[in-house]
Symmetry: C2
Subunit: 277 residues, 2 copies
């Protein structure tokens, strides 16, 4: 298998890509991972300009020599290339798997909405840190290369179609043509670095999104690094826990809350293929 | 005129309401302002529970003895009472003006979507601070009581229907039934306390919102207290100014950018009645 890596949002370091290449050489030496040079570009916040990021994604996605696109890193920006890239994906783009999460949800959502390729939530290609043993990256590679299901989120055993999003990205897709039809899907969500009032506000939007009326249920992944809500300043707490919050909005949405899930901005971030596995 | 004040989001202090009552007594002694006791309740983040905030709003909105509802304060939470209050508004609610901004955009949007009463963006009833001379509060009162147009946003002179929202609130309404039909309206937006990448992401959503396809143009109010984008940590800047950002998204949206506007989280926050003035 030949895996191409591009960075539609923020750049990666050479060190990060070398760690991943080394991990790949150790675990799957007969397979190849190729980091596009665009991954290292820097243009303000982004891994190169919008045009450079769009061109790199199109180059690899439309290259029949790649079997999969593994996104390098999130951090914001993949939404800015959707208008440029989505109409230019050709037949080779359809015979590929796309995997990543967080900000990459913009691309995963848009691809899934158009039934282009196979799409999955999973750890990023720059996820191996100095103190990361590569468990989640191994789950991605095992699933991509061997179809190994041991890295899949356990809830998928229910046999229903699924999709997974960072809540901020899901909320940003609502009301646009890039949010896929998730009728009868179990929706997995996770969040990082947000105060509870914003999580609550995003769940309001999810609960009232016309496009999401037909979903089968919600699973909540890890909600990590919850930011201060203004409590420090005003000497009060939000007044609800994350579990109370998700239960209340699922009730208002009229959709079953199916419990927690093993996804998120954590080392043990499981693979969630979109649709049926 | 009799003006009722309720707090659908965060509470106000007795001091704040006394300042406003004093200002009203000085400037419009023949008119009355009534702060509902709910304004001072505290329940975690909120000015009372969802049920208490909903009940206070319904009590004043459905009371024919009030001519206007002036929202006390924003800060998050008015979205949580929409499901409870919107179906219970009666005939008296229709013969009223509702004014406020920021988080109150949830209610203003929902009211305007259902053509209930007259709706306007304007300073809050707790906006007079220790060092605030009450200019914006005076604009609200002058417009409410005397129909004085001197406090209106100057762009309204174009004669087109308008609506004004905090960008975060607008983004949160997109895709829901609470976003009003703004076809042919000029949309005024403002923002506070957000990093540029989030402003960019919200403008992406606005630009691609199916519901907003028919708007006549965009005006950008004050964008204040822009938060650090991660630059401090990563030693980079976002790479675009707010003016570049708004121009790029208006272009992608295919909607004219009509320039800046005098609204926002600032002392000189002008009145923008929704619809035609």
């Amino acid at each position: 298998m030949r895996i191409g890596v591009v960075a539609p949002a923020r750049p990666v370091s050479r060190e990060g890509s070398l760690r991943m290449a080394a991990f790949m050489a150790l675990t799957y030496p007969q397979h190849e991972i190729v980091f596009h040079p665009q991954c290292y570009l820097e243009a303000g916040h982004f891994a190169g300009t919008d045009a450079q990021r769009a061109a790199a994604f199109l180059e690899f996605a439309n290259d029949p020599a790649f079997d999969a696109i593994w996104f390098a890193r999130g951090g914001y920006g993949s939404n800015r290339i959707l208008e440029a890239v989505m109409p230019k994906l050709g037949p080779a783009a359809n015979h590929k798997t796309y995997i990543g999460f967080s900000d990459m949800g913009f691309l995963l959502g848009a691809l899934y909405a158009r039934r282009i390729g196979r799409v999955a939530h999973g750890a990023m290609a720059s996820s191996i840190g100095k103190n990361d043993d590569g468990t989640a990256a191994g789950w991605v590679l095992g699933w991509l290369i061997d179809g190994d299901k041991r890295g899949l989120e356990p809830g998928l055993a229910d046999g229903r179609p699924a999709a997974a999003f960072n809540l901020s990205i899901l909320a940003s897709l609502i009301g646009t043509k890039y949010l896929p039809d998730l009728t009868d899907h179990v929706l997995y969500i996770e969040e990082v670095d947000e105060p509870l009032y914003r999580i609550d506000r995003m769940l309001f939007q999810m609960a009232h999104a016309t496009q999401l009326k037909g979903i089968a249920g919600i699973r909540l992944g890890q909600v990590t690094a919850v930011k201060d809500n203004g409590e420090a300043e005003g000497n009060y707490s939000f007044g609800e826990t994350i579990d109370q919050i998700i239960l209340r909005w699922c009730a208002e949405m009229g959709v079953p809350y199916l419990g927690r899930a093993e996804i998120g901005h954590v080392e043990l971030n499981r693979v969630v293929p979109f649709g049926l596995i």
